[in-house]
């Protein structure tokens, strides 16, 4: 049985070895931390974006019906549309929505008048605006110098901002302006009985593809129907397309770099001679491997933790999160993006294993290969010969 005293002394000596080779240890630390940061940032971002969209779109309508003609989108008659949709079996609670994109002080903003446009969780008990009032997203609020907001060009409207959507709903509300239906109609140029589109919930969500044809046939005018799962897929694709592929392609290269650095640091003449001396002093190959594993853990564990912590901060904490989003998506996502953290722990454990295990494997194999030689052969590599 191995006595208990052996491991602390080995671990203490491993720490001394780290201190003794401070430059190499720092290089390894920096390499590992950077690698973990790069991989973790990309994967955490992708995972978090998925989780966030899934969370937001979970409460979104299953289908959205838009009226179209030869010129594109046209307003939909609200009451008629509800009546037509209600007649389709499986359709629940068809709701006309009032929304549109208009010029704002800092660029285009999305005007909404119906809470059906965005998930109820976003509202979270906020007081609805009255005539002449608006609730705005973080991106719109940032462009304001006071509480007055002027929107539109032709049918321009000036409203008072009474509240701002919380930062953690930024993904859905960044450029949003919520106002009364009357103000929205005025701004969007819609008649009193017209809506922008019709949100439809289904009795069975899995029927969303099958019910499209029935729904389209129920309207007397041409319509385009958007499916919720298509939206999810589109957002996920957009989120991961630019950054994800490049990062996934880069992971093997980065890992290879780590393995080369690890191998180079461990397998050199000075190191071999040192191990030869240790063996001539009574160390076994297993002792040397244990020492190197201890040493690698002393350097590697904090490096992996630092890399993960940095990645976590870069993905989930603004303003770093905005920079990360810009970097990964090429600027497609909002600067004040705030992502859902659920599931991040599992991803982080996976990343730690993805980097940590190959690293320890390299240390183990390189060390076994070098330390298994006869001590005399290893001693010959030293300058004292």
């Amino acid at each position: 049985m191995m006595p208990r005293t052996r491991y602390p002394s080995m671990a203490i000596w491993a720490a001394r070895e780290v201190q003794r080779h401070a430059g190499r240890s720092m290089l390894l630390f920096a390499c590992l931390a950077s690698l973990v940061f790069l991989i973790a940032t990309a994967l955490l971002f992708s995972q978090a974006l998925d989780a966030t969209w899934a969370h937001l779109l979970d409460q979104a309508p299953d289908l959205v019906v838009r009226r179209i003609d030869g010129g594109g989108w046209v307003p939909i008659p609200a009451d008629d549309a509800v009546a037509y949709a209600t007649g389709v079996p499986g359709v629940l609670d068809p709701t006309p929505r009032l929304w549109g994109v208009v010029p704002g002080p800092g660029g285009p903003v999305t005007v909404v008048a119906s809470i059906a446009v965005f998930p109820e969780s976003v509202l979270n008990g906020m007081k609805p605006p009255t005539i002449g009032q608006a609730v705005v997203g973080q991106g719109v609020a940032r462009a304001l110098s006071d509480k007055r907001l002027t929107l539109g060009i032709g049918n321009s409207l000036c409203v008072t901002v009474i509240d701002v959507f919380p930062a953690d709903t930024g993904l859905a509300t960044h450029d949003l302006v919520w106002m009364t239906p009357d103000d929205a109609r005025h701004l969007l140029g819609l008649a009193p009985d017209q809506a922008s589109d019709l949100a439809v919930h289904l009795f069975r969500r899995e029927e969303e593809q099958a019910i499209q044809a029935d729904l389209a046939a129920a309207f007397p005018w041409p319509v385009r129907i958007s499916v919720r799962t298509d939206s999810v897929l589109r957002h996920r694709t957009r989120a991961t397309r630019l950054g994800g592929i490049a990062v996934v392609a880069g992971i093997p290269a980065l890992l290879a770099l780590l393995l080369i650095i690890t191998g180079t640091l461990l397998d050199n003449n000075g190191q071999r001679a040192h191990w030869g001396l240790l063996k001539s002093l009574g160390w076994t190959t297993a002792d040397i491997v244990r020492l190197q594993i201890n040493r690698s853990i002393i350097v590697g564990f904090p490096a992996v933790m630092l890399g993960l912590a940095s990645a976590y901060a870069a993905v989930f904490y603004p303003p770093a999160a905005g920079v990360t989003a810009f970097w990964i998506t090429g600027g497609e996502h909002l600067a004040a993006l705030t992502l859902v953290r659920s599931g991040a722990a599992i991803v982080m454990i996976e990343i730690a294993a993805l980097v940590g295990l190959p690293f320890l494997g390299t240390v183990f194999l390189t060390c076994v290969r070098s330390a298994a030689h006869s001590p005399w052969t290893m001693l010959q590599a030293d300058p004292w010969n």
């Binding site: 063996k279 002093l281 030293d382």
Partner: protein
């Protein structure tokens, strides 16, 4: 199996591999027994194979023919996974000392203790004892690179003795010492022998050759180890 019979060379031969095809044997059919409790001195010309003999006895290299036995066991034939742990019973002083220059004196002494299942408190005790025996107590925290040749050599001997090995193999252990310290080293090695260790010294040093404390003397010449009982008394 014989118990505690020390180190024995049985028809031990050695030739350096991968050199010239007709390379002569460095050692040829060497027969010797180095018993516990004795100090053996091996003399010989430079290049006669004294260091090679010590390396063979320490299990650092394998013989070309014959075997090295420790307590009757053919350790030179053992695979590395058995021979490596056995080497914990060996304390070796290299001719080139092989100290780690950036480590302190105390840390160099710690190196052989780490894999030997020794508690920290006992490690400290042994290190302090060896530092005192080697006149290095005041230099415990000094980097080895800052020591003189004599101090470095005494440190190498202290490192070989610190874990109280059963087989002590010393290559030119007094080469850089004044008479006082040479006598001190001789006394240290003899003390280890009195405690039951096998001590084998390879040296040119006339102070060792003429010492009464040497129990057995060998002379290595023409790849053969000759037992030599005659010696001069120390003046």
């Amino acid at each position: 199996m014989e118990l505690n019979t020390g180190l024995a060379c049985r028809r031990l031969s050695f030739r350096w591999p991968a050199r010239h095809a007709n390379e002569p044997l460095v050692l040829e059919s060497v027969e010797a027994v180095f018993s516990p409790g004795t100090v053996s001195l091996v003399t010989g010309d430079t290049g006669s194979g004294k260091s090679t003999l010590l390396h063979l006895l320490a299990g650092l290299i394998r013989p070309t023919a014959g075997e090295v036995c420790a307590d009757g066991l053919p350790v030179s034939r053992w695979p590395p996974r058995h021979r490596d742990p056995w080497r914990q019973q060996v304390g070796i002083v290299f001719q080139h000392l092989a100290l780690i220059p950036d480590l302190t004196v105390a840390e160099n002494l710690l190196l052989p203790m780490i894999p030997r299942r020794i508690a920290w408190s006992r490690m400290q005790e042994e290190i302090l004892r060896q530092l005192a025996d080697a006149d290095l107590s005041a230099l415990a925290e000094t980097p080895t690179s800052a020591l003189s040749s004599g101090q470095r050599q005494r440190l190498a001997i202290a490192r070989a003795l610190v874990a109280r090995p059963r087989f002590i193999l010393a290559d030119e252990p007094t080469a850089f010492q004044d008479d006082h310290h040479a006598a001190q080293i001789r006394a240290q090695l003899c003390q280890s022998a009195r405690e039951g260790a096998v001590v084998v010294i390879c040296s040119h040093d006339p102070r060792l050759r003429s010492s009464d404390e040497i129990d057995r003397r060998y002379h290595l010449a023409s790849a053969t180890l000759h037992k030599n009982f005659a010696h001069r008394k120390a003046p």
